[in-house]
Symmetry: C2
Subunit: 251 residues, 2 copies
C-alpha cells in the first residue's frame, strides 16, 4: 500500500496538497510520466511497494555511486543531477521537473548525485518491484526505453553546447530548452521561473557563475529578456534568442 513519507523540516506550504487515499487519482503528471502507459489495474499493482516522498529544498536524494534501490517519478518541484571530480569541480548533467523520471541506471548504481532545488514531491518505487512490473508489462519497458532514448538525445545536444558553443549560445540554448518545456506543459513560454541558482546554471553549462551573470546582463541590455526578479525571466525576443543559441548571430 502506498504510504506518504513526509520529511521533518519540509516547508509544507509550498507544495500543493495530496490525497492520501488515492495518490494517483488526481495526479497531474500521470500522463507525462511512466505511469501514463499503465491501465488502471496495472497502476494498482505498481502502487504496491510504492510510496510518496516529500522533501525540502537542498536535500540529497541519492549520492553518486550509491547502489540504486529505488526509482522515482517527480510529481512536484525540481531536482539537480550532478557529477563531481575528486577536487570538487562539478558538472550538472541535467535538471528534473515534474513528470520526469529518475532511475535509468546501468549497474544498479547511481551515475550521479540527485538533490532537490526546491521543496519537491516524488513517487518512489522499489527497484525490484519495478523490474517485476517491466517484466510483466512490455509497454512499460518500451516506455522506459523511449525515455532513455529521449534523455540520450538531450545529453548529445548538451555535448554540443559544452564542447563547441560560446557562453551566449550556451545560455540562450538553456533558456530555450526551459521555454520549450514550459510550452509543452501549457505554460506561458515567455515567462520562466528559474528554480536553480546561477552557480547551478554555470555548472550545467560549463561556465563560471560570473560568466553566467555577465551573459544575463548582456541579454538584458540587448533587449532579449527582462528579469522581474533574480529568477523570474520574461523573454522579449524568443526568435532572436533562438538565433543566438544556434550561433547565427556573430555578437
Amino acid at each position: 500500500m502506498a504510504t506518504l513519507m513526509r520529511e521533518r523540516c519540509l516547508d509544507g506550504q509550498t507544495l500543493p496538497p495530496l490525497s492520501r487515499a488515492h495518490p494517483c487519482a488526481g495526479c497531474e503528471v500521470r500522463g507525462l510520466s511512466v505511469c501514463g502507459v499503465l491501465a488502471e489495474h496495472e497502476l494498482k499493482r505498481l502502487r504496491a511497494g510504492t510510496d510518496v516522498v516529500e522533501l525540502p529544498a537542498d536535500k540529497t536524494i541519492v549520492h553518486e555511486g550509491d547502489p540504486s534501490e529505488h526509482l522515482y517519478s517527480v510529481t512536484a518541484g525540481s531536482l539537480r543531477l550532478s557529477k563531481l571530480l575528486p577536487d570538487g569541480r562539478r558538472q550538472i548533467t541535467g535538471f528534473l521537473f515534474k513528470g520526469d523520471f529518475l532511475g535509468i541506471t546501468v549497474h544498479d548504481s547511481h551515475a550521479y548525485s540527485v538533490e532537490t532545488l526546491e521543496p519537491s514531491r516524488l513517487c518512489r518505487f522499489g527497484r525490484e518491484h519495478f523490474e517485476t512490473m517491466t517484466g510483466h508489462f512490455p509497454h512499460l519497458e518500451h516506455r522506459l526505453y523511449h525515455m532513455a532514448a529521449h534523455e540520450l538525445a538531450a545529453a548529445q545536444a548538451q555535448m554540443v553546447i559544452l564542447g563547441r558553443k560560446t557562453p551566449k549560445e550556451r545560455l540562450a540554448s538553456f533558456l530555450l530548452s526551459l521555454t520549450h518545456r514550459a510550452a509543452s506543459q501549457g505554460d506561458d513560454p515567455r515567462h520562466l521561473h528559474l528554480s536553480m541558482r546561477r552557480g547551478d546554471i554555470a555548472d550545467f553549462l560549463g561556465l563560471t557563475k560570473e560568466t553566467v551573470s555577465r551573459t544575463f546582463t548582456q541579454f538584458k541590455t540587448g533587449g532579449l529578456l527582462r528579469l522581474h526578479s533574480q529568477d523570474d525571466i520574461e523573454l522579449l525576443d524568443p526568435e532572436r534568442l533562438r538565433a543566438q543559441a544556434e550561433g547565427l548571430i556573430d555578437a
Copy 2:
C-alpha cells in the same frame, strides 16, 4: 534473406572475409551486439529483412536529421557520430566500434551524422522489421533499453569531460576509455590503434587539433606513452594516466 551489398570502391583487402551463406554463423561480435540475446530461431527471423553492408573509409552512412529507416550493428571497422552547428563547428558525440549498435532514436530521425573512419562492415536492419521483432521478443527490447542506458551513462561522463576537465585530463580520459574497451575485448590494453585523426579527437574532446597534438607531446615527454606511429600508441604508465584523467595530478 540476407544479402551482401558491397560498395563499389571498397578496399576489400582490409576487411576479413565473410561467409555469404551463413553471415551470423561465424560472427565474432554476435555475443557483444543486440543479436547476442536472441536464440537461433529468433535470429533467423531477424535475418529476414537484414543485409550486410561494406563501406570504405570516410563514407557517410546517415545524415543528421534524415529519417531513420535502418538500424545497424557494427561488425568490423569504426564509425564517428557527429553533430554540426550552422557555421560548421562540429561536435563528435561518440565513436562506434565492432559490436556497437546504431539506431537508438527518438522521433525516427537521426540526431547525428554517421561516417566511417576506416573500411567497415555493418549489419543493416529495416526499422519496421526490427520494431516488429522488439514487439515479439521482450528480451530484445530489454537489451535495447540496456544499451540505451549504457550510452546515456557514457554521454554523462563525456559531459564532465567537456564541461569541467582540462585538455590533459580530457585526452587521458579518452585514451583510458579506449584501453578499457580493448581490455574488454581481450586485446592488449597497453597498445592502442587510433582509427580517428587528431581533428576527430579534438572535436570529440571540445579542443582544437593543435591542442590535442601538444597534449600528446606533453604525454610523450612526461613518459606516459610512446607513439610507434601517429596512430599506434603504447601506454607506458596506465596508472599515472588514470590519475591524470581524474585530475589527481596538478600538472
